[in-house]
Subunit: 273 residues, 2 copies
Amino acid sequence: MNPPTGAPLLVSTDQLVLGVHAEEDVSPGQLARKLLRRTLSDLAAAGAQPWAVTWTIAAPREKGQAWMKRLARAFLEEAENFGCSVIGGDISNSPAVVLTCTALGKEGRRRNPGRGGAKAGDWLCVTGRLGGAVQSGRHLKPEPRLTEGRALVQRYRAKAMMDLSDGLARDLPRLLEASEVGAQIELDALPLSRGLKHNHEGWQAAVGEGEDYELLVALRPGQAKRALQDPLLKRIGFHIIGEITAERGLRWLLDAKEYTLPLVGWGHDWNGS
Amino acid sequence: MNPPTGAPLLVSTDQLVLGVHAEEDVSPGQLARKLLRRTLSDLAAAGAQPWAVTWTIAAPREKGQAWMKRLARAFLEEAENFGCSVIGGDISNSPAVVLTCTALGKEGRRRNPGRGGAKAGDWLCVTGRLGGAVQSGRHLKPEPRLTEGRALVQRYRAKAMMDLSDGLARDLPRLLEASEVGAQIELDALPLSRGLKHNHEGWQAAVGEGEDYELLVALRPGQAKRALQDPLLKRIGFHIIGEITAERGLRWLLDAKEYTLPLVGWGHDWNGS
């Protein structure tokens, strides 16, 4: 297998544990789709396009052949939908269902901005809307923002970018730490999912629930203004939510005053959080 | 990250489930080393050289930080020993310990022979010795036959090759099926591990226990004869054990007569076997 000629490769790897990242009763098709889409969301955050994937299935034999066939069929179909070849895999007996996927992506002329390039004065923007993903079932079929991620890197020179899997309150600090900066977020500016209101509960849902798989990006103000006018980004929603600061730490602002927003919900992290 | 210029890439992916591929009481260091070495053994069977790896860890939080640190340290050290960069990974909470590794390898001028190229009249050869891997503890630190695999592809034009993880009796039929051929194996020609004798029990151990991670290769007779003289292969042991036949099926031979060797032991396969 030859890699795309001359194109830098990007590799992302992700896993899906039944009972941790998905409820015990989800169908094998839902598991397979979520697995692939989560992994591709990582590529999207790097501005890369999917090229090929490998995956592994660890599952109890008791799941049975029919379950396994549905899982495999859904994964292969979804890979085809996203234009990536499935080039390898492994199946094993296991006490728990643990699926993993490793995706190889092609980078464009401008490369993966990573999380470490945000500078004081950059604006923070997000695609789509935040909150309510689990309640609405959207967490089972996240939409990897592949064309949008590429546009943010190639057209608007993203300084730092990541996908929001654990929610803004857990994910943004990772970007801030990598970039050695802080940020202030205007709660009123958060694009809330339908059904959420601009109040304490709504903001907590938007920043704490996670599973949105939207892109969080730091852009220079001039680039952010241009991006706001881009039809590709406007179609899915694109909003400025705050600013990178030299002062470290993450501050939530309401009417220009600091607002206390305790982190609720739960983390997927091995350490908890 | 740029792939090696112009070199075709090969991807192999493998997993290690605690309680399935390793006993519950093995140390995190042993797990990490076995995980990487098994994955690299797949590359060896393709005649490829390791370039970069990603890995995933799914484990119960109760394993604790010290366990996790020992696991990670051993994996990183072992990757360095084999000259491959660790370019990504993921950690998740999980009810069971499931580790996976995906390795990217560089192929040489001659490419991965795969399993499907064996033809009637080819000779079947194996590296090293077979049997007793679990009892001796060798199964925890398999030796990926990387330089030998490359030599068999580049110098001796391997027609088909694979690594023996489940034992000759389970693995060889996979090669035969892929190549649409059969084979006969001379039991007296099997290179047995120390402690095994050339008798029924010894042969059963050599072909049924698995976990040897030696290379099984089909070569043209002339190439096989040359390979037998190669110091690199002689150093670890290299033996002709049989021949590819046009007639399908796998036959064990003793003194030129067919010998019945029932398959004992166990399989890792999801379907059992």
